[in-house]
Symmetry: C2
Subunit: 340 residues, 2 copies
C-alpha cells in the first residue's frame, strides 16, 4: 500500500496531439495536503482508464477545459472517504468521482458523481458498469436510441466497457443486435457472453458486406463510439427514421487539423435520421435511478461485464494506450497499490 | 388558355447529374386521357417549382424513386377538379398535390396532399406558404428545432419560400433570428419584411465572422437547407444542446460521386447536438391543423410571403434553374396559361 503520508500522482507533462503516450505523463510523490472546511479526503481504490481521457488531455474542441500541463491527470475513480470536514460525506462512505490518477484526493461535493455506503455488487463495478460506462450505455440508448422491440441495433466497440452493456440492454429490449469489434476473440465474446445476434471483426472486410448479411434491410439504431470511415459506411445503410447515438469518436486519432470525410448531410436528410451527441455528465440527475436499474440486472444475471484490472499507479499511462489499441479485456481499471 | 382537348406536358428527357438544366426537359401535347372509375381530372392553376425537384430527377440517394425518363416531370401543383369519378373529390373542389408539370392530370386520392373548397387566402398561397414550403417551415421547426423564447435561430436561404416562413415563425416564438442569404436585396428583405434580427449576404465574407458579430455566444437552432461548407462552419459555432434541422442540401451540386467535407461527428458529440433530417411527406397527418394555424397568421398579418409567378408552362425548366441560382423573389410558381 502507499504510505499514508505521501500521495503518488500521475501528471500530464506534455500536450498530446493525438492519443496520449506514456511519455506525455510524469510521476511525483507529494505530502498529503490538509483537508479544508467543507472538504474530504478520498483514498482511491480503483482508478478508471477511459477513452474520453484523450479529449481531456487535448486542447481541441471538447466539453471540458483541458487538463493543465503539470497537473494531475483528470480521471474518474472509486474510493473511500478517509477523513472528512463535510457532514454529507462521512469517513467510511464510498464515492465515485473526479479524483484523478493519484492515491489520494482532497475533494469537494462537486467532484462526486455518486455516493454510496456498502456496495451492492463488487466495488469495482461502481467504476464501470455502474459508473460512466454503464450509465452512458443505459441513458444514451434510452434518450437518443429509443429502441423498440424488433428493431436492429448496431454497436461499434461492441465488446467494450460501454458497448458490451449497450448490446445486452438492446437485446433485453427485444432488438436484434449486431456488434462490430476489432479482433476475433472479442467477436466470440460478443456472441457468447454479451448476447449479440451477430458480431464481426471489422478488420476482416468491408463493414458494408457484413451488414448486407446481418441487416439486409438496414440499421435502425447505430450506437457509435468510433466515428470516421465506419460511421460514414453505416450512415449509408441506416433505415428511414434511424437514430445515431454519437458517444465517442475513438477511431479518429486527431482533430487538429480538422480531418475530412464523406459529406453526411444528405444521408441525414433523405433517411430522416436523428443524430445526437451524448455526454454522460449532462445527465447526473438520472444516475441514482439508472444505477438501481443496472444493479437489478447485474444481480439477476441479465447483464455480464468484464474487467481488466492492473496493479500499480505507474501502469495507468500504458493502460490508456492499450485501451485505444483494443488490448483490454473489459473495463480497464488500475488498483493504485503498487510500489511507489 | 390551353385547349380543353389537349394536355401540354413537360417531360424529363435526360437524367441530370447535378442541377437540372433546360435541355434535360422536353415538351409535348397529348390528347386528354379518359378519367377512370375512382379518379378525377385536375386542371392545374399553379405549378410549383421546388429545389427538391433536383432530387426527384436524379438517380442518387433520395426519399422517392426517380422520375422515369420520358415521363412528366414530378411536381406539386394547385388545381381545380374539372371532372370526377370519385365522390370525395367533386368537380369544383380545389386540390394541392402530385399533378406534375402539365395542364391536366388524371389523379387518384393518393396524389392529393390537401383538398379544400373556397380558398381562405389567395389561391396561390396553397402552393407555397400553405403548401410544402410553409408546412415544412412550421413542422420541421416545431418537431426538430423546438424553439424556446430567447434562443438564437439561424436560417440558411433565409429569404426563400421555406426560410422566410421559418424566420417569421421563430421570431413569433420569441427567438433572435439570423438570416443568411445570397444577395443584398434579399438581406434587406429579411430585415424589413421577414422580421430577422440580423441578416447577411453569405457571399460577402466568412460566415464565421458574421456569426461572431450576430451570435457571439453561438447558435441554438440551425435551420439548414443548403448543407456543404456553410453547414460545416455553423456546426462549429453551435451552442451545447443545439438542434440542426436538415431540410435540404441545395449548395451541393452533385452527390455522385460522394463529396467530402469536414468530419462533423466530433461537433455532434462535444456540442451534444441533435441533428435531424426532415421530409415533409412523412407528416401529412398534421397538415390540416398546421394549415389552420398558418391561415390565422397570414390573415392577422403576422406572416408575410412573396411569390414569383411566371406565365407559360414552357418557363418551368428555366424557373427551376433560377431557383437554384437564387434569382427568384419568393415562392416560384408557373401559371400554365401561356400559348401552347
Amino acid at each position: 500500500m502507499a504510505s499514508p503520508e505521501t500521495n503518488r500522482r500521475v501528471l500530464l507533462v506534455k500536450r498530446p496531439t493525438g492519443i496520449p503516450q506514456p511519455d506525455d505523463f510524469g510521476f511525483d510523490h507529494v505530502a498529503l495536503e490538509p483537508v479544508g472546511e467543507g472538504r474530504f479526503r478520498v483514498q482511491n481504490l480503483y482508478l478508471s482508464v477511459d477513452p474520453a481521457q484523450r479529449g481531456w488531455a487535448s486542447d481541441g474542441t471538447n466539453y471540458a477545459p483541458p487538463v493543465p500541463l503539470g497537473g494531475v491527470m483528470r480521471a474518474l475513480a472509486v474510493g473511500v472517504i478517509v477523513e472528512s470536514r463535510h457532514a454529507d460525506f462521512p469517513s467510511g462512505a464510498h464515492v465515485y468521482g473526479w479524483f484523478g490518477w493519484q492515491d489520494y484526493a482532497v475533494a469537494q461535493p462537486a467532484d462526486v458523481l455518486t455516493l454510496f455506503g456498502a456496495p451492492e455488487v463488487p466495488l469495482s463495478a461502481y467504476a464501470g458498469v455502474l459508473g460512466i460506462n454503464g450509465l452512458t450505455a443505459y441513458l444514451a440508448l434510452d434518450r437518443i436510441g429509443r429502441p423498440e422491440a424488433g428493431e436492429t441495433v448496431l454497436v461499434s466497440t461492441a465488446a467494450g466497457a460501454v458497448g458490451s452493456i449497450v448490446g445486452q440492454l438492446a437485446r433485453a429490449a427485444g432488438c436484434q443486435v449486431i456488434g462490430l469489434t476489432g479482433d476475433d476473440d472479442k467477436v466470440a465474446l460478443c456472441r457468447d457472453r454479451f448476447g449479440y445476434t451477430h458480431a464481426f471483426n471489422y478488420k476482416a472486410g468491408p463493414v458494408e458486406t457484413m451488414l448486407a448479411e446481418a441487416a439486409p434491410t438496414g440499421v435502425d439504431i447505430f450506437f457509435d463510439s468510433v466515428g470516421g470511415d465506419m460511421l460514414d459506411a453505416v450512415l449509408r445503410v441506416m433505415r428511414v427514421g434511424g437514430r445515431v447515438v454519437q458517444c465517442g469518436t475513438a477511431s479518429v486519432a486527431s482533430w487538429v487539423p480538422a480531418p475530412t470525410g464523406l459529406r453526411n448531410e444528405r444521408e441525414v436528410l433523405t433517411r430522416r435520421l436523428s443524430w445526437g451527441g451524448f455526454v454522460i455528465f449532462d445527465h447526473q440527475g438520472r444516475f441514482p435511478e439508472t444505477m438501481q436499474a443496472l444493479v437489478k440486472m447485474i444481480r439477476s444475471g441479465s447483464i455480464s461485464y468484464d474487467e481488466d484490472i492492473r496493479h500499480g499507479i505507474e501502469q495507468a499511462p500504458q493502460a490508456l494506450v492499450d485501451v485505444y489499441a483494443g488490448r483490454n479485456r473489459g473495463k480497464m481499471l488500475i488498483v493504485p497499490d503498487g510500489a511507489p
